[in-house]
């Protein structure tokens, strides 16, 4: 569903190589966790997938659509949640959701059903008619999540989605992620929380200095290293170079 082939991206005229010849495939129905130390290239990879950055080399395809040559088709099946919820603060929550519904072409019935459902789950029903600038950080994160769920996308790309969420919302978020993938969707997300990645992900990739240094299921990662090791120990061992 997400096919990344030999992608590289550098900054400062090639002085800083953020992503270095990355090749990675995420299958349909899979929750893929993307781990790495600060500055390893996680956010850059995510921004490359959703089209916020242009790769220097390589190709990325989402649901078979090349993100450079067929960007609109790729975007139509993808939604994205950034690490900081910088959204239109002057709109109300409902206006923002309607904007997303309008640009993704979500029919009224589906729009209403999904908005009602997710507002209820994330306990945002009482705030949806207020301007977003009156929301707390966590509430903004929730409205961005609801907006990402609204189009019923095939692929969701999330950058540190748990940051700012309270325990209940984080729990619902994890349930939503599983539900999305059980229904055939694909989810690619970055996180620093090892426990979440260990329990939730079907497969995990670890990136370090722009290169993918490990990728596989939890069992595969454990086999490749020493048996019975926690993800945290594997992560620390692999990135301590």
């Amino acid at each position: 569903m997400i096919d990344i082939r030999n992608v590289s991206k550098s900054y400062n005229k090639g002085q800083i190589k953020a992503v270095d010849d990355l090749t990675l495939t995420v299958r349909p129905g899979e929750i893929f966790g993307f781990l790495g130390p600060n500055g390893a290239g996680k956010t850059t990879t995510i921004k490359l997938i959703v089209g916020l950055l242009k790769p220097d080399a390589g190709t990325i395809a989402v649901a078979g659509w090349d993100t450079q040559s067929e960007p609109l088709r790729a975007k139509a099946v993808t939604t994205y949640v950034p690490d900081t919820p910088a959204i239109y603060e002057r709109l109300t929550g409902l206006e923002y959701l309607n904007f997303i519904g309008d640009v993704y072409g979500v029919p009224k019935k589906a729009r209403l059903e999904r908005i009602e459902k997710w507002l209820d789950i994330f306990e945002l029903a009482s705030a949806v008619s207020s301007p977003i600038q009156s929301y707390s950080h966590g509430m903004k994160q929730k409205i961005v999540l609801i907006a990402a769920l609204l189009p019923g996308p095939k692929v969701m790309v999330l950058d540190e989605p748990m940051v700012g969420l309270d325990a209940r919302a984080a729990h619902h978020m994890k349930e939503m992620m599983r539900e999305h993938c059980d229904a055939g969707g694909t989810l690619f997300f970055s996180t620093h929380i090892m426990e979440v990645a260990e329990k939730l992900c079907d497969r995990i990739g670890i990136i370090h200095k722009g290169r993918l240094i490990a990728c596989g299921t939890m069992e595969e990662l454990q086999t490749r290293n020493r048996e019975e090791q926690s993800l945290e120990s594997i992560f620390l061992e692999l990135t301590d170079k």
């Binding site: 242009k54 709109l91 640009v103 729009r111």
Partner: protein, 561 residues
């Protein structure tokens, strides 16, 4: 003191992006090099403006010096400069003191409130020198040269220039600090900015009204003799509403003896006193006024199923969605609203005030009588120019991408083609231009009494011209959008793209002027010239809009966030 200077240095670096002005950053992005000739063109365009300004000052000096009233020139320039500081200072002060995001970093640091506030005051002061320089410096220098001012004059001129913004800025600052302490506007900052701006606009229009009245009033013979026989008659008349401008001009014009030194002392004394007042206000009130700031409250009310159903839209309508987003964000952000929507109706209103008051009214009436009696070509083109300037010479189209700021990532990820996004944005900017055209058309029709056919033709012409100017403004902003602002003022009021677009707009209007002259030489008269201009503008509109869409397709791909 060391901490204060450090804060000022950091503030100046942030304010002017000094760290990015190093050649290695400036010329790293070769795509920005297209701006160099444009800036050059702008500077070349400024030379004749300055030339005419200085010539005007020289001529007025020639008129006033036989009457012994030449010091009025200084008073006028200083008053204008201080008035500008007062108007712009309000925006700068309120956003820098209370709503800039660096406060979240500064307040928890071991710094005194006075150090934080005075450093911000100093940074604004530097900004204000840049604002007043084009108006004040030519007058100070020309006056000095013409009056053969010696060392004393030049020393005092320098001192006057340095002190000029201090008094009005300190007055605004003390008022704002006091107001923020007394009334907790923290959660209603939008209301404060809007109310303050409307107040200042009313003040500006009222000032214009008063000035016209006082200049236009014809004094009786005895009063005129009394007025002219006093060496400071005109100085007193102009500066009577704001005495600091009288002190400063007397300090400059009345030489080393007499009332010169005394007025210089008044000027310095008032500045020091207000500075001290601000220092005390900062110590006592600044942080107290900051409490609760940045918090936004809203009444939480769960929507009923019915209301939710009514509020939820349907289907795919990307262009309309983009248009609505632009409209809502602009109308709900006071700085954007004031510089976009309100500015397009301000020009027609100012014309109405000028038309109805004082001496200039007779000038304007004479001009309009000339326009009415001239052939249709001149009447239509003059009215269309007025409507185009009212509708399009503002920052709406030339900040349309910059205004998105940190939220531009959404425009990059949504499945809407750049062409459709540009259509939605264009519709919004054009709608605001239409508002300006409509307002000025009403003025032309009901105040200047031009006939309906002329007004209709000029509306059509100005609509076509505004189409071109809106698209040009959008192309300029798309070429180098300012997306990393933290204060909305930077996106529209302090955005260099807005200035570049105004230069470009004048360029387009100049080309149209050449076209009209060419048609005149070819012997075209009557309605044929406006009709030909309309066809030319319609063709130009189609070409520029096509170029805008093609440019957008490339830029949306290239801009990385």
């Amino acid at each position: 003191m060391k901490k204060f200077l450090l804060l000022v240095r950091t503030g100046l670096r942030v304010n002017f992006s000094l760290s990015l002005l190093k050649p290695k950053y400036l010329f790293r992005n070769k795509k920005d090099l297209w701006m160099v000739p444009l800036i050059g063109l702008g500077l070349v365009g400024l030379i004749p403006v300055m030339f005419f300004y200085v010539r005007l000052v020289v001529r007025m000096y020639g008129w006033l010096s036989p009457l012994g009233q030449q010091a009025a020139l200084l008073t006028f320039a200083l008053l204008m400069g201080q008035f500008l500081v007062l108007v712009f200072g309000f925006y700068y002060v309120i956003s820098a003191f209370y709503f800039s995001r660096d406060l979240e970093i500064l307040v928890p640091l071991p710094l005194a409130p006075s150090q934080v506030l005075m450093s911000k005051f100093t940074v604004i002061l530097v900004n204000e020198y840049l604002t007043v320089s084009p108006i004040v410096l030519p007058v100070l220098v020309t006056y000095g040269v013409l009056s053969r001012g010696g060392g004393v004059y030049w020393t005092r001129a320098l001192l006057t220039y340095l002190l000029l913004p201090v008094i009005p800025l300190a007055v605004v600052s003390i008022l704002v600090v006091g107001l923020m302490r007394l009334v907790n506007f923290g959660r209603k900052k939008d209301a404060l900015i809007l109310a303050g701006s409307l107040f200042l606009m009313t003040l500006a229009i009222g000032g214009q009204f008063m000035l016209n009245r006082s200049v236009g009033a014809v004094p009786d013979r005895a009063a005129a003799i009394r007025f002219l026989s006093a060496p400071d008659g005109l100085v007193q008349q102009i500066g009577s509403k704001f005495p600091p401008s009288i002190w400063a001009s007397k300090a400059l014009a009345w030489g080393p003896s007499g009332s010169g030194p005394l007025n210089a002392l008044f000027s310095i004394g008032a500045s020091l006193l207000l500075f001290a007042g601000l220092f005390l206000a900062a110590r006592r009130f600044f942080y107290r006024g900051l409490i609760g700031l940045g918090e936004q409250t809203a009444r939480r009310r769960t929507l009923s199923r019915d209301r939710l159903e009514r509020g939820v839209g349907s289907g795919s309508r990307p262009v309309r969605a983009i248009f609505q987003r632009e409209l809502r964000i602009m109308n709900r952000t006071p700085i954007f609203l004031l510089n976009g929507v309100l500015s397009v109706i301000l020009i027609p209103i100012l014309f109405v005030v000028m038309w109805n008051t004082g001496k200039r009214a007779s000038d304007a009436a004479a001009l309009m009588a000339l326009v009415r009696s001239a052939d249709a070509t001149i009447a239509v083109i003059a009215a269309a120019l007025f409507m185009t300037i009212s509708g399009s010479l503002n920052g709406t189209s030339s900040s349309t991408f910059s205004r998105e700021g940190g939220q531009f990532w959404m425009s990059k990820v949504i499945p809407v083609s750049p062409a459709d996004q540009v259509r939605g944005k264009f519709l919004h900017s054009y709608a605001i231009a239409m508002l300006g055209i409509a307002a000025s058309a009403l003025v032309v029709l009901f105040v200047f009494h031009l006939n309906a056919a002329v007004v209709l033709a000029s509306v059509a012409l100005s609509m076509a011209a505004s189409f071109v100017l809106t698209a040009v403004g959008m192309i300029i902003d798309l070429a180098r959008p300012l997306l990393n602002w933290t204060n909305p003022q930077k996106a529209i009021k302090q955005n260099f793209n807005v200035l570049l677009a105004i230069f470009a707009d004048f360029g387009v209007l100049f080309l149209l002027y050449l076209a009209v002259r060419l048609l005149g030489k070819l012997g075209w008269t009557g309605w044929r010239t406006p009709a030909a201009l309309f066809v030319l503008l319609a063709a130009l509109s189609a070409a520029v809009f096509k170029a805008l869409k093609a440019f957008a397709a490339r830029r949306y791909r290239d801009i990385e966030v």
